[in-house]
């Protein structure tokens, strides 16, 4: 584990280049601490900076080292939080339900089968409007047996009502975890947030990152504001989640009120996510596209749509294609839920064809989940444009620059003929 103090070193020059987020030069801030770590450790530092009251964990590959880092930070006194080593993911989230209703800022992390096992309380979390932050270190689903990265876990639960953010880089993982608390605890939102980082690629990929100053993060986050709406506290006795009445009495209106309020909170989150990312850029100098990133769309006639860490290799492929004179760009979705319809439509309106690369499968539509999301957004675009589904990176399979060059080529074919109704399986020939 990295000791921050030892890793504190002057930064030779500002981070620059494509993979470093844009800096606001005018910002004056403390010299950042720097460390070299993987995404799981970066996430754990994000947790430390956010000062949760309670963390509950249960290990699962590839999340385990994240749980271990958090436990070590608590043991070392770096993080002053109650740590509950629960007997399974179902209890992990249930402990946090209780803690949040008692007023705690909370954190956990899971993925894959752990998320599946957690589903019962997971489904309930946003309905209770609990601002819990949870990392999903994305992992593919079994069966066939696998312990490798993929986004089938998060994609499968995308209609449950959590805010879902997907990170591209290790630095973005840390920064987004801290930002997630501001988004979740915003009184107009009050929803749990999943911060997704790809298993293997981000969880184990080691890079240099900057650690924000604790005092500045404290100022950014403010004090936890968690259970003003629903509390289990003898000082404010109330019944939490009584039975609604079905078709009787005020039952239908009560239930609709909850569901509609939840939908409104999700829509409010779109605004808050943008505001929080703006403030983060002002305070800490790192700017991320909060909803949808447009990469080299100017002058592009077609584009790839990506989500998560694959955008790195995809941008390399786009750069290479641009050098060859191909008019291609890239759209990266950071916020999948609530779905940023306007931002997505604005990006799609700039091109005439898209190829959507998914790391998960939508069985019902014989395509990828993000492909389905993109098709839905196209309804609001000026023109109907062809939209190809490409699926790759399942169960840890590599998505290299070569795979994305093929994806670009397949997308370009949409100008020459009808759009296939079946997905392109990018790793089908990989051995």
């Amino acid at each position: 584990m990295n000791e921050v103090a030892e890793m504190t070193a002057p930064v030779a020059e500002p981070a620059s280049g494509r993979n470093a987020p844009a800096c606001d030069a005018a910002v004056t801030r403390k010299e950042p601490k720097v460390l070299v770590c993987d995404g799981n450790e970066a996430a754990a530092w994000g947790v430390v900076l956010s000062r949760p009251d309670m963390v509950a964990v249960y290990p699962i590959t590839p999340q385990s080292s994240l749980a271990e880092y958090v436990a070590q930070f608590v043991a070392d006194g770096v993080l002053d939080a109650e740590l509950v080593e629960a007997e399974g993911e179902h209890s992990v989230l249930s402990v946090l339900h209780g803690a949040a209703l008692a007023g705690a800022r909370t954190y956990t992390a899971s993925c894959g089968q752990g998320l599946a096992f957690m589903f019962e309380p997971y489904f309930r979390t946003p309905n209770l409007r609990l601002p819990i932050v949870m990392s999903i270190v994305n992992r593919d689903g079994i069966t066939p047996q696998c312990v490798w990265g993929g986004q089938q876990d998060a994609m499968t639960v995308r209609e449950v009502g959590w805010v879902q953010l997907f990170c591209e880089t290790v630095q973005e993982v840390l920064d987004t975890i801290v930002m997630a608390y501001r988004i979740a605890e915003d009184r107009s939102v009050m929803l749990p947030v999943n911060v997704n980082h790809d298993g293997n690629y981000l969880s184990n990929g080691i890079v240099r990152i900057e650690l924000p100053d604790q005092a500045e993060v404290d100022d950014f986050l403010g004090t936890p504001d968690v259970n003003w709406h629903a509390a289990l506290d003898p000082d404010r006795p109330m019944g939490v989640d009584p039975l609604t009445g079905g078709a009787t009495g005020p039952g239908p209106a009560l239930f609709v009120g909850y569901r509609r309020g939840h939908c409104e909170g999700m829509q409010n989150a779109l605004r808050v996510i943008v505001e929080v990312h703006e403030e983060w850029a002002r305070r800490f100098g790192r700017r991320y596209a909060p909803l949808v990133e447009e990469y080299r769309l100017d002058g592009a006639d077609h584009a790839l749509v990506t989500i998560g860490s694959m955008a790195g290799a995809a941008k390399d492929a786009v750069d290479a294609a641009r050098e060859r004179g191909e008019r291609v760009g890239l759209i990266r979705i950071k916020t999948l839920r609530p779905f940023p319809v306007d931002a997505m439509v604005a990006a799609l309106d700039k091109v005439q064809a898209v190829g959507v690369v998914d790391r998960a499968v939508s069985y019902g539509w014989n395509s990828g989940p993000v492909h389905q999301e993109t098709l839905a957004a196209l309804q609001y675009c000026r023109h109907r444009i062809p939209c190809l589904s490409l699926i790759g990176g399942l169960a840890g399979a590599d998505l290299t620059q070569a795979h994305f060059e093929r994806a670009i080529a397949e997308t370009a074919k949409l100008f020459d003929g009808p759009c296939p109704r079946t997905p392109v399986w990018l790793n089908a020939e990989d051995r």
Binding site: M54, S94, L101
Partner: protein, 464 residues
């Protein structure tokens, strides 16, 4: 009006030995002869069973109302007292009492009646001490009822339980004692079904209360207790759960919280099945029992497996406190609730309450307490407690139980049992009792005082 202690008589245990009369006479009369006893046992020639003639300390005593001299009166201690100064020896009182509770004593020259030995042996009537068979019991639970009665009832009136169900009794009495500085979890089942959390915008209790999932009661309470404790507050984390939410689908979270030693008071109200949803089988259902999912047919005769012993499983978690209790033995329940509440400030406390289900077990709604008592007296439900430092203790004598069939015949769910099934249940009950007997007899072992002992249930005094 306050309730008062009483002397209870169990005809099934009386063999007519007469020791009670001897003890009474030597305590209360001048010549010590049994003829002077203020309790008399009387044989019913038709049934062959024994009855008693003794003052019942009636709430509205007829002896007192017919007395022309105001020589008899019910006191604040509940005892109907006789005043020698006022008595005119008219003996009208002996005609007024229908229980044979007051009679003329030739030796004394005036009427005499039981005063529960309130003079020399207060709190220990001599007839009760002399009864080796346990047919006489001095029931002091009224003391506790009076004390509890002064505590605030934290459930709203008019909860919608089935007629005759003892769960409302458990809920009200538990919450009175645990008090308002509590967060109450009632996982899906009869307890929230009765409206404890609330319905359609209405609220069911006066303490913070919630529906956990059926599966995560102990986990949610973990977060609640720990967060309040982190903020320096000692809030009781209380669960009132059914056997399914505790021992079946909820067992993982229960086991995890117990293993971690979370400071939770977990009360399992065991009605041996999913009674709220129509009486389906659970892991707690008795072998042979009819349920909606273990029906009786040509090729099935009720549940094919024995119930798991959930309280013993909890004991093996090394909880701070584990006990079984019954609403037929409220004084014992109160003492255990008190102990469990105190233990829950140090670690996990688990209380297992037998809750006969009038509708799901098929018996008349007036019989709930009788069914509960018979379960205990037949060893079908053994009362015991476990303390981490002391090991397991039996709460009452289990060596001379009533026949198990006395219990089985009370319940419609066992109506179809054949001889082999009855023998199976009898064997299982005997085995469970033997296991508990041996656990109670365990000797101290390395570094830990595991001592088996046997306490007298009725000797428990909460005032001490």
């Amino acid at each position: 009006m306050s309730a008062t202690p009483t002397i209870a008589f169990d005809a099934t245990r009386c063999d007519g030995c007469g020791e009670c009369m001897s003890a009474c006479a030597s305590a209360k009369s001048t010549d010590g002869s049994s003829a002077q006893s203020r309790i008399r046992i009387v044989r019913d020639e038709e049934s062959g069973s024994w009855g008693i003639a003794q003052c019942r300390q009636c709430g509205d005593p007829r002896c007192a109302s017919v007395c022309p001299a105001a020589a008899l009166a019910k006191g604040d201690d509940g005892i109907v007292a006789w005043d020698a100064e006022r008595c005119v020896n008219c003996l009208i009182c002996t005609a007024g009492c229908t229980f044979g509770g007051i009679a003329f004593s030739p030796a004394e020259g005036h009427v005499v009646k039981c005063d529960q030995c309130s003079d020399q042996h207060a709190g220990a009537p001599q007839c009760v001490s002399a009864c080796a068979r346990g047919a006489l019991r001095y029931v002091t639970a009224a003391n506790v009822y009076n004390r509890w009665g002064e505590l605030e009832d934290l459930f709203v009136p008019g909860l919608g339980g089935c007629q005759g169900c003892n769960t409302e009794l458990i809920m009200r009495h538990t919450l009175r004692r645990v008090g308002p500085n509590t967060v109450l979890a009632t996982p899906p089942g009869c307890i929230p079904g009765m409206g404890s959390v609330g319905y359609n915008g209405m609220l069911g209790c006066k303490v913070p209360v919630f529906h956990p999932l059926l599966t995560n009661t102990a986990s949610m309470l973990t977060g609640i207790r720990r967060q309040h404790k982190r903020k320096g507050r000692n809030v009781t984390a209380l669960a009132l759960a059914g056997d399914g939410g505790a021992g079946d689908v909820g067992f993982q979270s229960l086991s995890g919280a117990a293993e971690r030693g979370e400071q939770i008071l977990f009360v399992c109200v065991d009605n041996e099945g999913y009674m709220n949803t129509g009486a389906q089988r659970s892991g707690s259902t008795t072998y042979g029992a009819w349920t909606a999912t273990t029906p009786i047919g040509d090729s099935a005769r009720g549940k094919a497996q024995d119930a798991k012993n959930l309280p013993l499983l909890m004991m093996w978690h090394g909880c701070e406190y584990v006990a079984t209790a019954s609403t037929a033995f409220m004084e014992d329940f109160y003492a255990k609730l008190e102990a469990a509440l105190e233990a829950s400030e140090r670690g996990f406390a688990y209380l297992h309450l037998y809750s006969p289900c009038t509708s799901g077990w098929r018996f008349p709604s007036a019989s709930n307490i009788e069914v509960a008592r018979t379960a205990v007296e037949t060893n079908f439900a053994v009362l015991w407690e476990y303390r981490r430092e002391q090991g397991l203790t039996l709460s009452r004598d289990i060596d001379d139980p009533l026949p198990v069939t006395d219990y089985l015949k009370l319940l419609g769910k066992f109506r179809h049992l054949d001889a082999a099934q009855i023998a199976h249940i009898e064997r299982h009950v005997a085995e469970q009792a033997q296991v508990l007997r041996e656990l109670a007899a365990m000797q101290p072992c390395e570094g830990r005082q595991v001592v088996g002992r046997q306490s007298d249930l009725m000797a428990v005094d909460l005032d001490q």
